[in-house]
Each structure stands twice: as structure tokens, then as C-alpha cells.
Amino acid sequence: MKKQKNLTAGNVIFNIINYTIFGLFTIICIFPFYYILINTISDNKLVSMGRIMFVPQGIHFENYISAFRIKNLPNAAFISLSRTVLGTVLVIIASSFPGYTLSKKEFWHRSFWYRFIVATMYFNAGIIPVYVTYKNLGLINNYLVYLLPSMVSPFNLVLCKTYIESIPQSLEESAEIDGAGYFIRFTRIIFPLIKPIVATIAVFSAVGHWNAFMDTVLYTSKTKLFTLQYILYLYLNEATALAEVIKSDPAAGANIDPATMLTPTAVRYTITMITVLPVLFVYPFFQKYFIKGIMLGAVKG
């Protein structure tokens, strides 16, 4: 934004320091992922000796194949993936459709219901009352606990409503004259027009669902419902859980090659990589939506 043409000594020194500090911080942000990655694809024996630091050695992909033989992992991956997809679809429906209906002035007692929704942004009953409520609703150890509570977000709803209100009324009017009801008008006319905001909401919701962790801790105890995040947490924390995993690997008995045999460290690193890769892959493509998201939040906030 500014042109610095004068190459005084002070400027040069400033630039060197400035570029270096940002370079270092960027490396600190990214290097751990690289370090974990090269440790998952290197010779497991060298890894356990701590020899893999900057360059991968003895590259192999056995760890990833073995990881998917771990008893609970495929199921956890399925739970994480399915809640991300279903959860995001539900969030999109539950923010765009009520956002549309509440943008209509004729909505029955509109201002009351709008306040009814917005007010929920400012209070929270707290961990224990929420837990007891879910228990009474039968949501403990129920897959729906991943989907329903996060479905209607007042914040996303307000974003959609504001966006819809900026669309000219006349676009809907011709359809209204043709006798199209609210639902048809929403699906045929409004929804295609609000795609930019829907994309932003979808991207944030998907990352949120993929990364969600506390709901598994609080509301589930069944292995069947564990997510990838939770499985990773267990393996990072509990040496015994890991020992079980390695013992239960059917190929472990046959696999005596120390270079590719699963080790606790290999399991931890590999599951980390499996959990982080979707986010790392998706991020560059959706960066503009993420940045738009924070701007919208700021305008609203």
C-alpha cells in the first residue's frame, strides 16, 4: 500500500528484521504439520530413534494402511464425516429458510419471534442444566446430539435474513402473481440468490463439525459414537488404549518388519495426519469464504 523507494540503511535493517520475524512465525505455524507428516511416512524404526527431523527417510505408506485396520478408526472416520455432511446440510436449511420467512413483514408476530431467536445469543444455561436436559430428551449416547443442538444458530439466521432483505422485492413479485407459494418462491428464487452467504455459513459449519470435540466428551460414552477427534485424544492421552490398539491389529503378529510395524508414536502421528489433512486441503480453496465470514461477524458484532 505504500511505496518505499528510499533505501536508507535504517529502512534496509527494518525490512530485514520485519521479513525475518514474519518468516519465523510462519515457519512455526507450518513446520509442526510438516514434521508430523514426514514422521508418518518414514521408516518407523528411525522415527522411534528420533532420527527424522527435517527430511523423510525410507518412505513407505504402511502406517496409513495399518491405521485403517485399527478397530475403531474406520467407524470414527465415518461418524466424523457423516456428522460433518449432515450437520452442514441441516445448518444451511435451518439458517436460510427461517431467515427467509422472518424477512417477511406479514410473519405472525414477527418482532416477538425475531427477538425470541436473537435473545438466545446472549445467554447460556450452562454445562450442567444443558446436560440434564439432553439426558431427559434421550440425547445422551444418541447420534442426534451431534446434529440437533448446533442446527439452529441465531447468528447464521440473522446473517441470512439481513442478506435476503437486501434482495429487491420485485424479483419475488412476478412469482407471487403467478401464484407461487412461499416455499416455491424460497427454493426457486431466493435460495439461488443467497448462495454466497450460504457458502460462507457452510464452510464454517463444516469445519466446526469436523473439529467438534466437547460434545463427544460430554454426551457420549459409546465407542460407536466416538469421532476422529476423540479417538485421537484418547490415543494421545492413554498409553494403555494405544497398547490395546497395537495388539488388536490383526497384521501385527505377521508384521515383524521394524520399518513398517506400528508403534505408539506412528499411531499418534498417523491419526493426527488423517484428522488434519481434510482441513489443510480444503482451506486454500475456501480461504475467501473464511475471510468473508470474519468480516460479516465484525459488521454484525
Binding site: K2, N15, Y19, C29, G50, F116, M214, L236
Partner: protein, 315 residues
Amino acid sequence: MAFVKNNAKKQKSKMKDIGGKKLFLMTLPFLIIIFIFAYVPLFGWSFAFFDYKAGHKLLNTNFVGLKYFMVPFSNSILRADIVRVMRNTLAMSFLGIGTSMLPMFFAIFLSEIGFRPYRKVVQTLTTIPHFISWVLVYSVVWSLFSLNDGFVNHLLLKLNLVDAPIAFLGTSNNVWITQWAYGTWKNLGWNAILYISSLNSIDSMLYEAAEIDGAGRFAKIFYITIPGLLPTFFVLLMLSIGNLLNNGMEQYYIFQTAMNKEYIEVLDLYVYNQGIRGNNISYATAVGMLKSLVSLTLLFTANWFSKFVRGESIF
């Protein structure tokens, strides 16, 4: 003529009326979900006034009034707990508030980088940690600092700087600082984005005028850029004061060990440990309820203060 017009108007408004009810009915399922998940749990605050035990009906338990709000005053163990938990909560919140200028300076110095591709790469890569979960942050920390597998220990051993690996993680030292550092690693780049966009909205004429007056780089930062960013900074500061007691629990739950519990247990985590692990439902509800009320008061006070100082509310 007038009669016909009037009639048509009436009919139209009747149509609107029916339409309005239709709209309401179509939205009802969503309103019910909001009622169930945001309003119904509020009834749970009543547990704080009863001797509630899990599995019992509330009606079969004894009404105890404010007993659970008074317990910390009479019971010295719980009092010590509350003091410790509040100390941790406030320490970590104030570390965050005290360093809340960092994202602003990150944005300012990043904009001083003239080579655009470098700036873009830095901005993209430093925002990535924001999008990984705290469990993954834990895994990253583990891969860097663990005793036998950590990168830092490998490096120190290789460079012969230490004789034996250092137990960075199994310690109760510097818990607040390290937790703050993890949070900063995760969110600094992301938090700077807001300032980067505000930077672009500062009038470039100001800089040109200052240049003509002979202002150097730092003079321009000090007299133009920082004053231009202060409104954004102020809003965020007020919001973080409103969230003084809400430092969340995911991060602290994940990093909690037997060793660092003394320093890492914040209010939310304490409520969880007491209520769900310790089964003291009534007491935990009372603590959580007080926390919610204090938070709400703080938020509205901050908002009032913002109106008073800048004539603009924060929400």
C-alpha cells in the same frame, strides 16, 4: 368506487394475515428447536435451589434455598477451590487482554512488507492453525515437546545442548504462559485479518500528506495507522472484557493433567469437574449460574461503557 377499493384492500390484508400465519407454521419446527435447546435448559437453574441427585425427580428432592450459593463461604475447602479457580480464570483472561494489541501490530508490520506474494503467503499460512481443533493443537504440542518423541528434545540432544531430554509437558511450571502461547499460536494470524481489512480503509491521502510533511515510517504508524485502528481495537477489547469469565473449557480440558490441574482449572472446567465428574449437580449449577449472570452483567456494562465513550454500542 371507494367502497370497492376499500374492500380490495381488506381482502389483501386478510390474505397477508393468512400468509403471515402460514409463514409462522412453516417456521414453527425451527422455533421449537430453539425453544428446546436454548430456553428449556434454563429451567435447570432450579437444581441450584434443591438437593438434586442424578436420577431423582426434582419434586422428590429437598428445597434448600440459597444453600449452594452460600457453601463457599462456610466450607473452607470449597472456598479455597473457588479462589484458586477464579485466580486461574482471571490470570488467563488478563494475559489475553494484556496482549490483545498483538494482532494489531501483526497487521501493521505485515502491511509494511512491500513484496506482495510474501505477504500473501504469510497471511495464508499463519491463519491455518485457527482452523484445526484443540485436540490437534495438543497433538502438535506433543510432537514438538514430548519427552521421547518431541522435535525440540531431539534437536537439543543432537546439538548437545542438553544431556537428557527435558520434560516440557509433565510440569506444573508456567502453565498460564504456555496455555496463552498455544492460544496465540492458534489465533494470532486469524485475529489480525480484521485489522488488515481496517487498514485498507484508512484514507491513503493521509499517508501522502504525512510523507510530504516528511514523516518517516514510524511517525506514520504512530500518528495515522494506530489511531485509525483504535476503534476496531476498542470494540474487541470491550468484547473480551464481556467474556472475562468465559475462557471456554475445550483447551483446558484437553491440556489438563494431574500435574498442572492446580493452575489450569478455569471456571468452566471446574463446573464440569464438580458437576459431571463429581456428581455435585446442585453446587455446580449454582456456580455456573452465577458465572452466567456475572458474564451478562459484564457484557452489558462493557456495552454501556462503549456507548458512553464512543457513542456507539458494540452489539
